[in-house]
Subunit: 346 residues, 4 copies
Amino acid sequence: MHMSPISVAVAGASGYAGGEVLRLLLGHPEVQIGALTAGANAGETLGSLQPHLVPLADRVLEDTTVEVLSGHDVVFLALPHGQSAQYAAALGEDVVIIDCGADYRLTDPGVWEKFYGTPHAGSWPYGLPELPGQRAQLTGARRIAVPGCYPTVSSLALAPAVVAGLVDTSDIVVVAASGTSGAGKAAKPHLLGSEVMGSMTAYGVGGVHRHGPEIVQNLGTLTDQPVKVSFTPLLAPMPRGILATCTAPVAEGVTLEDLRTAYLKAYADEPFVHLLPEGQWPATKAVHGSNSVHLQVALDEDAGRAVVIGAVDNLAKGTAGAAVQCMNLALGLPEATGLSTVGVAP
Amino acid sequence: MHMSPISVAVAGASGYAGGEVLRLLLGHPEVQIGALTAGANAGETLGSLQPHLVPLADRVLEDTTVEVLSGHDVVFLALPHGQSAQYAAALGEDVVIIDCGADYRLTDPGVWEKFYGTPHAGSWPYGLPELPGQRAQLTGARRIAVPGCYPTVSSLALAPAVVAGLVDTSDIVVVAASGTSGAGKAAKPHLLGSEVMGSMTAYGVGGVHRHGPEIVQNLGTLTDQPVKVSFTPLLAPMPRGILATCTAPVAEGVTLEDLRTAYLKAYADEPFVHLLPEGQWPATKAVHGSNSVHLQVALDEDAGRAVVIGAVDNLAKGTAGAAVQCMNLALGLPEATGLSTVGVAP
Amino acid sequence: MHMSPISVAVAGASGYAGGEVLRLLLGHPEVQIGALTAGANAGETLGSLQPHLVPLADRVLEDTTVEVLSGHDVVFLALPHGQSAQYAAALGEDVVIIDCGADYRLTDPGVWEKFYGTPHAGSWPYGLPELPGQRAQLTGARRIAVPGCYPTVSSLALAPAVVAGLVDTSDIVVVAASGTSGAGKAAKPHLLGSEVMGSMTAYGVGGVHRHGPEIVQNLGTLTDQPVKVSFTPLLAPMPRGILATCTAPVAEGVTLEDLRTAYLKAYADEPFVHLLPEGQWPATKAVHGSNSVHLQVALDEDAGRAVVIGAVDNLAKGTAGAAVQCMNLALGLPEATGLSTVGVAP
Amino acid sequence: MHMSPISVAVAGASGYAGGEVLRLLLGHPEVQIGALTAGANAGETLGSLQPHLVPLADRVLEDTTVEVLSGHDVVFLALPHGQSAQYAAALGEDVVIIDCGADYRLTDPGVWEKFYGTPHAGSWPYGLPELPGQRAQLTGARRIAVPGCYPTVSSLALAPAVVAGLVDTSDIVVVAASGTSGAGKAAKPHLLGSEVMGSMTAYGVGGVHRHGPEIVQNLGTLTDQPVKVSFTPLLAPMPRGILATCTAPVAEGVTLEDLRTAYLKAYADEPFVHLLPEGQWPATKAVHGSNSVHLQVALDEDAGRAVVIGAVDNLAKGTAGAAVQCMNLALGLPEATGLSTVGVAP
């Protein structure tokens, strides 16, 4: 346990991811919040941009520079894709850098370039400790890539069935509906309240969304079988939350009991992943603001498919909660420090 | 063309389906609205229950009885499942009966009994004129079963690919998010605004929702191949609308061009089904209150699947609009009379 | 009645007001839709911007110029404030120009300049036919200023009490909550769905909102007494609708019966203004998409105030519905042509 | 400071107020959660009713009886009105009882009986420590009445102006919009998501809402002048939050500076009441889930009225947060223990 407070800087404090990191850090007992930076909003008070962060209301945002970010124990990067490498290179190797962006998530340069269109920055330990094999990489790490929000819930929803060999990984279908904060705070007409309230739509259909290959990569670490995922993201009329419907053909003879047993076993010791009691289905409201992932599994015998429903808060466990959880692991703090399983409902 | 007004009764006028039938009938130039009936709400004014139906505000709801429903040219039944047969039997054979409920949708008694748990009432012409082969059955019919809301959009989203043999019908996955009005007006805690606003959830997962076999039945009329559908319904935080994500493996060599061509051809002459221009995705808001179905198709080459997104207003084209469309066909009126392709947005 | 179709142009067809004008015109039996213009969106299809307007999906927006707008019987202007005068001057005097913007609403140049900060363009007949004295000015008019959305509902909610001398007009308080479409389609961060869903806020507080003096002006036409209005607009998490709470001290001895009698009498012959039955309160959903205003009145005896609640669809009767109603009056068509009292609910 | 954990029971744990008390207690470092009781839901698990309260998911609700509630240091009552007296009488005088219901809020039996229609149970120290004079009554108290949600925000929004003599208390108007959770979890048709989403309505208009006299009572403790309040509650399409618009005539010569000074001074030492910087308006989202009240004040010179906007989370500071704050005061704990000023946004 650290005796002195951990000093933390947040780059991109004006956005949704940065704001959520700060919301969680304000409840973290070991942290002292240092520099807060922004791009176009530099010079403004945080209170004018994030009025819910009352204790930091008078803090003035600084420009995002290496100089400003230097001198902290931990730096959270909540920046547009492609900007992380410059800070990673310039900040000391001892500084814990937690990147909420995509830059270091994908291991395959070819896949990166296909989906992001820019040179590959590299890959860092992947901040999903509940995915088999990942936690050990994160403990004591100094560079961590926070997973995408869709891959978090989709991977956790599918992993136990994949690990246990209960499903055919070559024919997975994921349809996941996200709240609008997943699209960020940049003002675009199709994200106006007038457009999104009372409406559902799809986007990134047909295998073009950048989180698709990330799901494939995650599941690929769990099996030697080929992994194919048809991933369709939906935009739902709510500010937060993802509800993912994940389905795969079951192997011959697999029963619902087999599936539930695999999930119960896989997550028995995970504080943040909850398989709900039979008959109860995940709702995003139940995980609102929390670090929880709620799961439920069904077997469609006629269609021969397992169907797993997962709910996560895209900003919390889907981004900032994972980031804080990873910070805890990096620093050797208890993994759940400053994080809660309790949602804000209704 | 009828010279005198068509007299119409609506049974179940206090509910959402009945209310929407009335909303549309108020704009229908050939119709005179006769008896309005209800169950527990009999004796109340329509205005106290459906304040948006201003011209009928002072009408008092009567008990739903054969006597009250008699003497009309057309009777719309918007009743709980299982109640239609008694009226169908007692009303004259010349009366056009349009059943918004499920009683006469399924042709296979075994499937009916498996999913509904009651004796099969029989089957009537199926009120989805855009499904190949159905329109002829509806023209001049005196008994019509209005399709379920999910089957309407799912079937229309998949039919062209199935008919053209472009997809493998044995491995279809449909995930469809519905607004809450699809669950009806009965007050249940999980449908409270406090619960549903800002939240998404799933229900009827694992092949148990009653609309699943209806989708299978519809697609089965289009192909000799086996049809299997994994159907998952979601509850979305909006009052109206369904967004359906429908995906199936494509046959070897099928291109996006093949898919688009099939859809353009299939619906070229359909006034209510619109394949959107490439790059534009259906949104439920664009069909709000209209009789339109909006479709878009994509090809996920890595996953080897076609993905079709469909949007419909569950109460309009998904129920009441189809009902009025069927009435028009039954009576020999122009099919689109009193119906609009124009949504109420934003 | 015109024998040939009325040709209509809409300037500002890409915005919410212009879109709603088009939605209504598509259901108007006497109209032929001519030129559609836009600013930054010129060159795009209407379908890409207003996907709910299916019959016009392929129409390409033109630049807003006098030349393009010329040659129509009617021109609707749905433009930012300050742009109307140039078209009014250049288009012929016989052309009916209906301005959905504010430019010609206020009669007092000093008030205009105080609230809008630009030179006063003048004033046109005020398009609120239900306000005593206005309908006659609109019949056959060639220039009409469509009222603001808040003034429409607030003025109609207060007018009968003012005319009957039942309230003290020097101490009126109006608090009115609007859906977000009232703020237009320009992408601003505070109007993002992520910000507005699940949240209420206030804006333009303290007598600075431009619709305040318009309410004062309207009520001032009805009484010789001084008129003071404390007007506070709220932003509500819904795309459409205004709910206005309008309260004023009652004169000595005024009873609820007196109030109801005044309202019933005032609106007995108005097709679009509905005093609800006692015990029933206006809801914006009931007027969604319609040209109706729903009102209810109460008397708070302890506080000595009449409280009138009014609901209107800000885009329909609050803007585009009024515009079409005024066009009908201008052209001598039946006033309700193409307009409906029926809302789209739930 | 207590050395051993404080044992706490919650009666009414299945409802929204009870659930929010539990959410906060789960984050309170000094508390051990004991008996959880319910009415009709007794026998069910908390997880099936409040799935967001993960750590308590397996707890089974007991019947609400004196026996079950006995033996705790603190008992929170979150029961329907009229049920508190029986538990207050039977539980020991040393037990801290915090009543989230209305039973002990009003001091005047005649006012109670007029608005609630039942015999007056009495009055307890009023749990609004920020109201001048109240905190001292709460410190060490063993019986506390938690204020109503509307009175909390309205009283705090008006108190500084009243105390400073800046406004005329005989002509106050409050219009306050609440999220639907304020109406509780009982399933009623008008509270269905289908009805409330996208809609605003009013209720309890004309001085009949029970929170009106509570506001009058609170302000009456601050002035010798007569207090009259016209209070209109609105139902807004959001699950949580109240936005209150509070306006009163200003005394001759009062400036905006006078008003701001009064508010800054009044709340300088209050951790949970925040006067926002000039130009920034309260939004309910910024206080979502927090114990904060956000205020802003304006002066409408033309109307001669001060306008104060206040935002509160009706379930948090509006009910359960106040309840926990009062528990802290009763037990001599630091007042803010377990409470946060930080909202969950967006």
